[in-house]
């Protein structure tokens, strides 16, 4: 299978505190990889490095697009986003003063892809909320908007940082269904601690502990059998 993203010998630190230790991973095209680990293990730091919000102390992040390889280290976040790597952060923040429609317009403008009907197929509720301001949306509605917004412009890689955190079980079921559809069309990299989500969505699981990758589970049956609880 073709690689789309390759992280090579990446080390990351916040000042003197080293957080990532010689991380090497690769993500395959149109596969869903889930990164599992305790709080503080370095999962979000890894996402911050991939998306350009943090510079690694050493190592490279290579993005393979149209058979060309490009090192993302040193590129500003907006350029990485425009290459087709979108990031949905943990905080579920939308532009609260803008309506749902304006939030979508804002996301569509850089790629000029204003065809957002497919987003309403995934999240029909957003169509009803089009003129509602982002600040008045519930947690689940915000998450629908953020994921919908990230999908505009047909990105090739989507990074989701704990997308199910704080959501009601019924809403989580809905999101799992949507993500199962989305995952066929793009590469998903998810940071997740919810075990049912991991077993239902993952094609590959990376276990991270204290800034180091300690296991790489690439077989569906092994993922279902594995007991990830002890790593959380």
């Amino acid at each position: 299978m073709d690689k789309i993203l390759e992280i090579k010998n990446v080390n990351g630190a916040y000042g003197e505190a080293k957080v990532l230790f010689d991380i090497s991973l690769s993500f395959e095209t149109n596969k869903t990889s889930i990164i599992v680990g305790k709080n503080g293990a370095g999962k979000t730091t890894l996402f911050r490095i991939i998306t350009g919000f943090m510079k690694p102390t050493s190592g490279s992040v290579n993005f393979f697009n149209n058979e060309k390889s490009q090192n993302l280290v040193g590129l500003p976040p907006y350029k990485i986003a425009n290459l087709g790597i979108r990031y949905v952060a943990q905080d579920k923040a939308v532009f609260s003063d803008l309506t749902v429609k304006e939030n979508l317009e804002l996301a569509a403008y850089p790629t000029k892809d204003y065809n957002w009907d497919f987003i309403f197929e995934y999240f029909p509720k957003l169509q009803v909320l089009l003129n509602k301001k982002g600040g008045y949306l519930s947690g689940g509605e915000r998450q629908m908007l953020i994921i919908g917004r990230a999908l505009l412009g047909k990105p090739s890689v989507l990074l989701l940082d704990e997308p199910m955190e704080g959501l009601a079980p019924l809403i989580i079921e809905g999101f799992i269904e949507v993500i199962s559809k989305i995952k066929k069309e793009l590469t998903l990299i998810i940071v997740e601690q919810n075990i049912p989500v991991i077993s239902k969505l993952a094609d590959r699981v990376f276990l991270i502990k204290e800034g180091k990758i300690i296991a790489d589970v690439g077989n569906k049956d092994d993922i279902k059998k594995a007991t990830f609880e002890k790593y959380l």
Binding site: A89, A93, D97, L98, L106, T111, R149
Partner: protein, 313 residues
């Protein structure tokens, strides 16, 4: 495009009110209100759409004013070319300064601008006094020739010219506020990080809003220079910076017509209240406190709140 121009009638309505007002109030007052409004619009856009507070707006006003004045005093007699010079020099100056200071944290940005204003004042007052005339300034009222039948030294002619400029600026500002660029600016104020996630450069967005704001200030400076036929360093005084910010807040930050309302009140207070009490600023200060406590969008916000309440009733 339709969304952008659907409120086209609003600037036209305001311009009509200003035009009719000349039958009731002195033209000189209205002309000053127009020019001061454009100056306030610069601070209003920077604060409302760039999220940046500047205590150095008089610097950009001075750049436009002195560029126009120097052209008209040393090189030519065409006030329109003088105005163009003010805009060109203002744009280049804003670009050069903006690239350096736009990345600063908002409080440092405000203070750096204030500091640059002081430096600018010193340069005009002392260091380049052989060119700028120092504290005496530059007089060039008699050097300006009429252009296309417009005599810029004629009060009525200049009033009509200033009205046309205000209309263009109102339409342009309304277009920008309702455009995608305006939305990106608001999104940057709300959450810069999320804007980057979506593929926008926050630096470029802020730089463009800073340049637009500074060019508006330079345009106001050029208009002042042509209107009075005179420039002097006091127009860049540090006390003016506070006045601009106060007027912006009084009118309503981020609103299209707040600057005009704020400018009309401040110029009116200067003219009328200063005849009654010497320290007219006391009135403006008290009014500002009342408005800020009552509404966060200034007088425009108060009016909007009142209209909304009436609709509910």
């Amino acid at each position: 495009m339709i969304r952008t121009f659907k409120k086209l009638w609003q600037p036209l309505f305001v311009i009509t009110i200003v035009f009719v007002a000349r039958f009731f109030v002195p033209i000189s007052y209205l002309t000053e209100v127009i020019i001061f409004s454009i100056f306030i619009m610069s601070c209003n856009f920077l604060l409302g759409y760039g999220g940046l507070l500047s205590f150095g707006q008089p610097l950009y006003l001075g750049v436009g004013a002195y560029a126009t004045a120097c052209y008209l005093f040393y090189f030519g007699q065409n006030p329109l070319i003088g105005l163009l010079m003010g805009l060109i020099v203002g744009t280049i100056f804003a670009l050069g300064i903006g690239v350096i200071i736009i990345k600063l944290r908002s409080d440092y940005f405000a203070l750096t601008n204030a500091a640059m204003n002081v430096v600018g004042f010193f340069l005009v007052y002392d260091l380049f006094s052989n060119i700028t005339g120092g504290m005496d300034g530059i007089w060039f009222l008699t050097k300006m020739n009429p252009v296309f039948g417009i005599d810029f030294t004629n009060t009525y002619h200049f009033f009509i010219f200033a009205e046309i400029v205000l209309l263009i600026i109102l339409l342009l500002t309304q277009y920008i506020m309702n455009s995608m660029f305006g939305t990106i600016c608001l999104a940057c104020i709300s959450n810069e990080k999320k804007v980057r996630f979506l593929g926008y450069s926050v630096f470029k967005t802020k730089l463009l809003s800073f340049i637009f704001s500074s060019v508006l200030a330079s345009l106001a400076g050029s208009l002042y220079a042509i209107y009075f036929g005179y420039v002097c360093p006091s127009m860049m005084g540090q006390e003016k910076a506070g006045e601009v910010v106060a007027t912006t807040i009084l009118g309503g930050v981020g609103t299209l017509f707040g600057p005009i309302i704020g400018a009309a009140i401040i110029i009116g207070a200067k003219d009328i209240i200063s005849n009654i009490i010497q320290n007219w600023e006391v009135f403006v200060g008290a009014l500002l406190v009342i408005v800020v406590l009552k509404a966060d969008e200034g007088i425009v916000g108060l009016v909007n709140d009142y209209i909304k309440k009436q609709k509910v009733i």
